[in-house]
């Protein structure tokens, strides 16, 4: 029953208990993350309600192409992550590693494109402050504060996720995961899907106001 490669941690009685605890732990952590991002989503909702015109004008200056490509990339990476979990459950070590590496690659693409996007945003003087782009209503700066804060926090979470997945890929390479033991892959998958879902909300709220 217990995988001969993996010992149960000493505070647990058996593997099922350890696995259930890990999974519950990750779900609880994701709940805290919802509240963490939630504060900024709340601020966004309130200000967009107060200043719809300014927000629409501000949103028009986000770079739709980059945002849309990134959405596609992240959604695909969630697919590859789900495939990695599946492969682990099938004890298919080769494909666990491959799908994890694919996910990491897509995540890196996301960050690189984000990097280009930030660079272009800054060239356009879209950093709030005294040098903010002329011609926009003053409340547009509030939109852009939220843009930088929310996408920045998201990018930080993506980066942490990449670190997590790299460790996972290394462990998978060394044969750690199988149908008997794959909770770390599953639980990291949950985290990655969460990061993806946050982006699914950010994309329309930041890029798509009044843009059809």
């Amino acid at each position: 029953m217990a995988n001969s490669h993996v010992a149960v941690a000493e505070q647990f009685d058996d593997m099922p208990q350890q696995q259930e605890a890990s999974t519950l732990g990750m779900w609880t952590f994701l709940a805290t993350e919802v509240l963490f991002f939630g504060g900024m989503f709340m601020a966004y909702i309130i200000y967009r309600n107060l200043y719809p015109h300014a927000f629409a004008a501000a949103s028009g200056h986000t770079i739709l192409l980059y945002g849309t490509i990134n959405t596609g990339i992240l959604l695909t990476s969630s697919l590859t992550m789900a495939m990695a979990v599946y492969a682990a459950q099938q004890s298919n070590q080769k494909w666990v590693v491959r799908y994890l590496l694919l996910t990491i690659f897509l995540g890196c693409c996301f960050l690189v494109i984000k990097g280009f996007e930030y660079h272009d945003d800054l060239k356009e003087h879209l950093w709030p402050g005294p040098n903010f782009k002329q011609g926009l209503p003053v409340q547009a700066q509030i939109f852009w504060v939220l843009y930088w804060a929310m996408t920045g926090l998201h990018a930080l979470h993506v980066t942490v996720g990449l670190g997590l997945l790299s460790v996972l890929a290394w462990l998978a390479r060394h044969g750690k995961f199988s149908e008997h033991y794959n909770t770390p892959v599953e639980v990291s998958g949950l985290y990655w899907h969460f990061v993806d879902i946050v982006w699914i909300f950010l994309y329309p709220l930041l890029y798509l106001i009044n843009r059809y």
Binding site: Y51, P52, H53, A54, P137, V138, Q139
Partner: protein, 314 residues
Amino acid sequence: MKFPLFPDQASTIAKPIDQLYFALTGLSALMVMLIFLTITFFLFKYRRGKRVNRGPAHIPQTAIEVTWIVIPLLLMMGVFAWGAHVYFQQQRPPQGAMEINVVGKQWMWKVQHPEGNREINELHVPVGRIVQLILASQDVIHSFYLPAFRTKMDVVPGRYTSEWFQATKIGSYHLFCAEFCGTKHSEMVGRVIVMDPVDYENWLSAGQPASTMAQEGERIFSELGCSGCHVGNSVVRAPPLEGLYGKPVPLQNGQIVKADEGYIRDSILLPNNQITAGYQPLMPTYQGHINEEQLLQLIAYIKSLGPRNPEVRR
């Protein structure tokens, strides 16, 4: 040493609030006594070593639990309703209020009467009149607290807040800033001085203000160039201001807002926020060119503009 227990009751709302307070005190004292006496009784009767019946008690547990949930709940809702009723009175000024403007800044209160009289850290009012304060902050959040009147309202930068009272007793009472605002927060104090109405009028005229608030506002209006667009035949079409105050204004996005003090202030400082229907967003912002006191004077002037003569322009 002095042992005061209650502040003066110097406004119409002080008595209803004190009544609530006494009722709450009575209720609380009752509760405390009940629990204290019950516990003391049990501690004595059931202390170890005392020969007394300790067998199972056959108490209808659920019934008792429900009782002591329902009864406090009903009491709570009763107190809430009573409080809400008095709160409505406390927050909503009756008709016919005389307005006085207050600007709070680190660390003083600057009061301006419509007649033009100005005070620092003092507020003279006539007894028996309904007074509504328009409160503005020059910098951080302050709070205008008059304990004898049982009223308080935060003074928040970026908006106008207001509180009202009707003083009932002639005298001089505390004014405190009640929201921490920096180094000299505890020195941002003063007095509210309630006077006989005749004495108040005398005080107003003795102050010999050079001009009323509205007159000051008119001066600022032309100095800042507002008349350039808002009066007469100008190249730039700007909404007329006569009779504007208090009326509904249709906005470009279809909304209709009321032209109150806050609207006028926002129109001067953040003009592109709410664009009147049928006009272009051409007005420049005056942020940084005008302080809170001047804004209030300007608003007083705009308020004083009667309905426009339909033959004049447009």
